[in-house]
């Protein structure tokens, strides 16, 4: 029997895994071909997608950049060392996996997420079994506390303490909510976990429910993740049939039911109180705390909310013991953290490393650094609530305390790598445009202050900045931080403050010299063609939407600056690097 596992998480499908799977399915059942085709989640090596693993006679060969034709050859027993990425559990070709310690992601890309058997055979539901048959709720909370696990959604609140608060509240019913409203642009670990290992989230929720005395769970998942929603629905049905969700689990008097609520697209609903308002069918606007959800949450009942990655760690911690987790990481931050590496990076993807790895190790050793010929400039951490950390701080070990000290935040672990083509003022403008449009409008400073800040940043990037603009931005930023109710408002100015702190000279270049050092702000860039490099192929001429480029075939072309709208499409089209930006 030859088993071919196709990585069909959303990222794999976007790279063409759907066609590979479809083609392989047509081969199944062919005479003389003993073939089984299954799906699997994302192993995190997104830069090699689509990925196919061939399993035969106890051996495993992982191939990357697989086309349907190549997949057919693999199905027929062919091999090709050129596309071979990994053999069995050895190091992968690029050395991305050996640097990792995969706890939350332990099953992603290794099992069929649609198979409860696969989950069980890799130790699935053993933790819940252990909890229900031999541990008191207090003991469970003690283990989680001792592990040092902190909320992975961004807040970093100690998970054990959070559970303890909910457990201490007296009520007939309590809720466990899984926050799967992953909204930070640049973070996709929760999506990958839901698509690659949905049962572990259900198991984590059930353990939490037992510990705090809840009987109902709700998964609040964003509608932008259609595949994750399908996986979750399937998993709930299978777990119900097998008796892992429902009444009197394992013959005990513990009952646990789960429902899915689809988010409707509002970033602010990642905030606990807004999320609960949304489940209740209202506009997702944050409320003042206290009362905390642990005391008075969904429908007025005690509620515990954890994010996907936090819950994925729970079964492992219960099974392996708290010391196994707390022995990893730093004094301040225990265990491992999943990071989504994206942006201007060679080997983008999902990695899980012990806390305390430095930014430089993550970007260069794991991620392979920035594209060739470019210079590493900064990382953006924590999404719209985070900030930019400059390349000069590459030796900083990543943990909650260190990252907060830079003015950024750990957030959910999205790391967007920036190189010398990225303008830091534009970066600040981008994030502020995001928070401004996502502000729910409840607090005046968040609603209007972010708008005013955005206007200033738009002016600066358009070459109309004024000398006092930096001070105006700082003043507004502090007012917004002081006068907003929820995390969205209090952190919204972070991207602006950190870029001013570390890249002030870029702001000044825009304002005083009307120059964008990264040649990124279109209003401040001039395009011309390098006559020596231009081959006269005519591609740019064809692409130019305003016919600003002229020239005969095989002759160097020229750009008419008076007509040029500086859209930059010629740069993206030219195969010879002949377009100069200055």
């Amino acid at each position: 029997m030859r088993r071919l596992c196709v990585g069909t998480a959303t990222c794999g499908v976007a790279a063409g895994a759907g066609k590979v799977l479809e083609h392989l399915k047509t081969l199944q059942g062919e005479d003389g071909l003993d073939l089984e085709v299954t799906e699997t989640g994302c192993i995190g090596l997104c830069f090699n997608e689509p990925l196919v693993e061939v399993r035969e006679d106890g051996k495993r060969l992982l191939y990357g950049n697989v086309t349907p034709e190549f997949a057919e050859r693999l199905a027929r027993g062919d091999t090709d060392p050129e596309y071979l990425i990994r053999r069995d559990d050895e190091a992968d070709r690029d050395g991305v996996l050996p640097r990792q310690h995969r706890i939350a992601l332990r099953r992603c890309g290794n099992i069929d997420p649609g198979s409860l058997d696969d989950y069980r055979s890799t130790g699935g539901y053993e933790a819940l079994e252990k909890v229900l048959t031999g541990m008191s709720p207090e003991e469970v909370i003690e283990v989680v506390s001792a592990s040092g696990l902190r909320g992975r959604g961004g807040g970093g609140f100690p998970t054990g303490r959070k559970w303890g608060l909910a457990a201490a509240s007296e009520a007939d019913h309590k809720y466990v909510i899984c926050n799967a409203d992953e909204g930070d642009p640049g973070a996709f670990m929760d999506r990958s976990l839901l698509e690659g290992d949905p049962f572990s989230i259900l198991e984590g929720m059930a353990i939490c429910a037992y510990a705090i005395g809840a009987d109902a769970g709700i998964i609040y998942c964003r509608a932008e993740y259609p595949k994750a929603l399908v996986r979750l629905r399937e998993a709930i049905v299978m777990a119900e049939e097998a008796g892992w969700v429902g009444d009197d689990l394992l013959g005990t008097d513990f009952s646990f039911h789960v429902k899915i609520k689809e988010g409707a697209g509002a970033f602010v609903c990642g905030e606990e109180t807004a999320l609960m308002a949304s489940i209740e069918g209202k506009r997702g606007m944050p409320k003042f705390r206290p009362p905390y959800p642990a005391v008075k949450g969904l429908w007025g009942l005690p509620t515990n909310i954890n994010n996907v990655e936090t819950l994925a760690n729970i079964p492992w911690i219960i099974k392996e013991g708290p010391e196994a987790f707390s022995s990893l990481g730093t004094e301040d931050s225990k265990g491992t953290k999943v990071f989504a590496l994206a942006g201007r990076i060679q080997r983008g993807g999902l990695v899980e490393v012990p806390m305390g790895m430095t930014i430089g190790e993550l970007v260069f050793d794991v991620g392979g650094g920035v594209p060739e010929g470019r210079t590493f400039k900064a990382v953006q951490m924590g999404g719209p609530s985070g900030g930019c950390i400059p390349a000069s701080m590459a030796d900083l070990p990543i943990d909650y305390k260190n990252i907060s000290a830079t003015g950024a935040i750990m957030g959910s672990g999205g790391i967007v790598v920036l190189d010398d083509t990225t303008c830091m003022v534009d970066m600040a403008r981008y994030f502020l445009a995001f928070t401004q449009s996502e502000s729910c409008g409840k607090c005046t400073f968040c609603r209007i202050g972010t708008k005013r800040m955005l206007e200033i940043l738009e002016r600066i990037t358009a070459g109309q900045g004024e000398e006092e603009d930096i001070e105006r931005l700082e003043k507004l930023a502090h007012q917004i931080q002081d006068s907003s109710l929820c995390g969205l408002g209090t952190t919204a100015p972070n991207p602006v403050l950190t870029t001013i702190r570390y890249f002030r000279e870029e702001y000044e270049a825009h304002i005083r010299d009307k120059k964008c050092p990264a040649h990124s702000c279109s209003a401040l860039v001039r395009f011309s063609i390098d006559a020596d490099k231009c081959t006269g192929c005519g591609l740019c001429k064809k692409t130019c939407p305003v016919d600003a480029i002229s020239g005969d075939r095989k002759e160097a072309h020229v750009i008419d600056e008076a007509v040029c709208i500086r859209c930059g499409k010629c740069v993206a089209t030219c195969n010879f690097d002949a377009i100069i930006k200055d």
Binding site: C46, G186, A266, V416
Partner: protein
Amino acid sequence: MSTAQANRFARSLWVTDGASGDLIPLLQSAQNSYGYVPEHAMEAIAGITGISVSEIYGVVTFYKQFRLTPRGRYIIKVCNGTACHVNGSSMLESTLEDVLGIRRGETDADQLFTLESVNCIGCCSLAPVVMINDETHGNLTPRKLTTLLKRMQREARTEAKEASDA
């Protein structure tokens, strides 16, 4: 609007007990059935849940998912996540505007294409990304995207012609 659409929406009204927590799922069902949330659907939901139409309108306009006007057959979402932004998503958006002749939030006259932007669809390592209906296209350049759009336009035109011939 077809009977099939109305029936589909009506089914979701039958299975609810009108709890206020069902408001968003009901609106999602209306949007799935009609492609947007028509006024009569809001009225029907108000009748069942007891929530006033004005309050429902407040919820509809709060969340980005809901539309108040019909959309095209192909919903094109340009991802505007951080990774896509630093890899040139704004250029993809202007390419789409040029080729389709519509701007963000608009639908073309034939009700074929609707252009939208989305915060992040989590395919950051394939940036820049565009989602067309439920299919995600990664590592796009303005040229690749133009080729893709032209092909879709051709197919849609052939289909429309076949439909009118038949």
